[in-house]
């Protein structure tokens, strides 16, 4: 298929259909409402399900119900809406139910603003709901990558029987870029007969399946949490993704940045390179599991004097970067979180100040 020019939100919507997901429930919220507006006509066209729920809370449980009945299903929202969905996400993680949640982040806390931000990093990677639960979190840096990550998310959710989140800043949803939907990322939904409540007749069984997160017996609850922990550990072994940029150079500064922010960093790195200053970039594509080993190794390279964490939040990923660097280098944070994206010039000035002061 040839490339088409699409808005990120519409590409996310179309990517889900191309991935083989024909069920969508959502509640409108800026800056991702275009997903629902697109699927309101597109799902009927392909014989799929579209329903606008009465609230994000209700939507998260429509997803829970549909996914627990064995269907491939997804929703999209933005920061305040994800807070409301986090209850349902915790229940799904506890009951081991796969589904895909897309968060096109806006600034916060509270109503915050409607402009792009990366301020839900900690919520997505550490605190999505009560209890010991995690999502597999992927962070796209372009419309193309957003489409591909959405397509990859469904089989990953089914592999782990766990919700997967696509964490994009508002720009990913709002900007238009050429995009194509790789045929090889289309996938068949996995067989869920061993656990889903799809009706005994459907699976030719005479024993009911129960989808639940209540374990009143302490050992049973501990066992369930150990099973979840084992999945999170497996994610760390098998599904860490990141991009290395200019890491073959003798960089003195290592940047860690993701999403739209990482593209600004790349522009700054190219500019600095033309002036003889080498800067490397490690861009996490998965935020959970986090590429901690890769960052540890990149920060230990002989010329690396400093690690710079650049993000559109007040230093949320910073904690993971510091943890990964393990004290081998000073780690500095730079960012903004009001809705405007730091410019290449700001990054360049920052790096120059740092390198010249040494």
């Amino acid at each position: 298929m040839s490339k088409v020019l699409m808005k990120g939100n519409e590409a996310i919507a179309e990517a889900a259909i191309r991935a083989g997901c024909l069920n969508y429930f959502a509640y409108p919220i800026t800056p991702q409402s275009e997903v629902a507006e697109y699927l309101a006509w597109r799902m009927p066209e392909v014989g799929g399900v579209f329903l606008q729920g009465e609230s994000e809370v209700a939507v998260s449980y429509m997803i829970h119900g549909a996914a627990s009945a064995g269907a491939r299903v997804f929703t999209t929202s933005s920061s305040p809406g994800i807070s409301l969905m986090s209850e349902g996400i915790s229940y799904m993680a506890g009951a081991q139910v796969p589904a895909v949640f897309v968060n096109i982040m806006r600034g916060g806390p509270g109503l915050g603003g409607i402009l792009p931000s990366q301020a839900d990093y900690l919520q997505a990677t550490k605190g999505i709901g009560h209890g010991d639960c995690h999502l597999l979190v992927m962070a796209p840096a372009s419309v193309q990558e957003a489409a591909e990550m959405v397509m990859m998310a469904f089989p990953l959710a089914e592999k782990y029987r766990n919700p997967v989140m696509i964490l994009g800043d508002g720009l990913i949803g709002q900007m238009m870029e050429p995009v194509e939907f790789p045929e090889h990322l289309k996938s068949e939904p996995s067989n869920k007969d061993d656990w889903a409540t799809n009706g005994m007749d459907t699976r030719g069984a005479d024993t009911p399946n129960i989808v639940k997160s209540l374990f009143l017996d302490p050992k049973a609850l501990n066992d369930n949490n150990l099973a979840l922990r084992a999945k999170y550990e497996r994610m760390k072994r098998e599904d860490v993704r990141y991009e290395a940029y200019n890491l073959a150079s003798d960089y003195g500064v290592l940047m860690v940045s993701y999403g739209t922010m990482s593209r600004v960093c790349k522009t700054a790195i190219d500019e600095l390179k033309s002036k003889g200053i080498e800067v490397g970039l490690l861009r996490p594509q998965t935020l959970f599991p986090f590429p901690e080993d890769a960052i540890f190794k990149a920060a230990k390279k002989v010329h690396c004097q400093k690690v710079l964490c650049v993000e559109m939040s007040m230093g949320q990923m910073l904690e993971d970067v510091q943890r990964s660097v393990q004290g081998n280098c000073p780690v500095q944070w730079y960012g903004k979180c009001g809705g405007d994206v730091p410019t290449p010039e700001e990054i360049i000035d920052l790096v120059r100040t740092e390198t010249e002061s040494e």
Binding site: L51, E54, A58, Y61, M62, A66, A69, T197
Partner: protein, 247 residues
């Protein structure tokens, strides 16, 4: 000799955890009988609530999902939209449905979702230990209304069936009770009717059952039945509030 009465196939051979004099067991049986009679056990999915009936999947032998507090109608919506061929029912108490889940039940009913809700109204929170519910009667003492419910402070009890019947979308909305055999027969007919409307893909169907909670009311089972008749039934009037045949 042919058996004329036996344990329904859809009811597990399992002692329940319900208190003496609680009517959950009767309603469970009526639901199980209905599932048997309509021969839908293999394509039924139940939604267990947060509340005393959270372990309902231990008693009713069909696929079950466990909902969080009040969200069962949203989960049932999700199931029914992706699998319209499945028979789906929620089973919810009054704390669950009339308080924290009021938004979900009103919107599911208003969309005309084709599932069935069994609503157990016993005028109190059961599982959490007898706190005041939106359905608690004026002056009724609970652990969070120790001096009796004061309606000038927290309003009057909500009549959910009447509220849902006020929606313009066609539906089957009925209120029944199971405190005496004559009522049980009617309740059984109502539950079966509700499932049949779903089977025909006609409408949302809702059966409220005025129930007892001797433990949290601080009464003997016999006194609880009398109190239901004297205090609850005059306020929660029995009967059909809406059928899909209504214009």
């Amino acid at each position: 000799m042919a058996k004329t009465f036996q344990r329904p196939r859809s009811l597990k051979r399992q002692q329940t955890h319900y208190c003496p004099g609680c009517t959950h067991g009767i309603v469970h049986r009526l639901v199980a009988e209905t599932i048997d009679e309509l021969e839908i056990r293999g394509r039924t999915v139940g939604l267990a609530p947060v509340g005393c009936a959270v372990l309902m999947y231990d008693y009713i032998d069909v696929d079950f999902q466990e909902a969080s507090h009040g969200r069962a109608p949203a989960m049932a919506t999700g199931i029914k939209r992706v699998r319209p061929d499945l028979m789906v029912f929620t089973y919810q108490g009054d704390g669950d449905l009339a308080s924290i889940g009021m938004g979900e039940i009103v919107h599911a009913a208003n969309r005309g979702e084709k599932f069935t809700t069994i609503f157990i109204n016993n005028a109190v929170y059961g599982m959490t230990g007898g706190q005041m519910a939106p359905t608690t009667m004026p002056d009724q003492r609970t652990t969070t209304s120790p001096f009796g419910r004061k309606s000038d402070d927290v309003g009057m009890p909500i009549r959910v069936s009447e509220l849902l019947a006020s929606l313009a979308t066609p539906a089957f909305i009925t209120r029944q009770t199971v405190i005496k055999p004559k009522y049980i027969k009617k309740a059984k007919r109502a539950i079966r009717q509700a499932f049949e409307y779903q089977m025909e893909n006609r409408c949302f169907s809702f059966v409220e059952i005025v129930s007892t909670c001797p433990t949290n009311w601080g009464m003997t089972p016999v006194d609880a039945i009398q109190w239901t008749e004297d205090t609850l039934l005059p306020y929660y009037v029995l009967g059909d509030f809406k059928t899909p045949e209504d214009e």
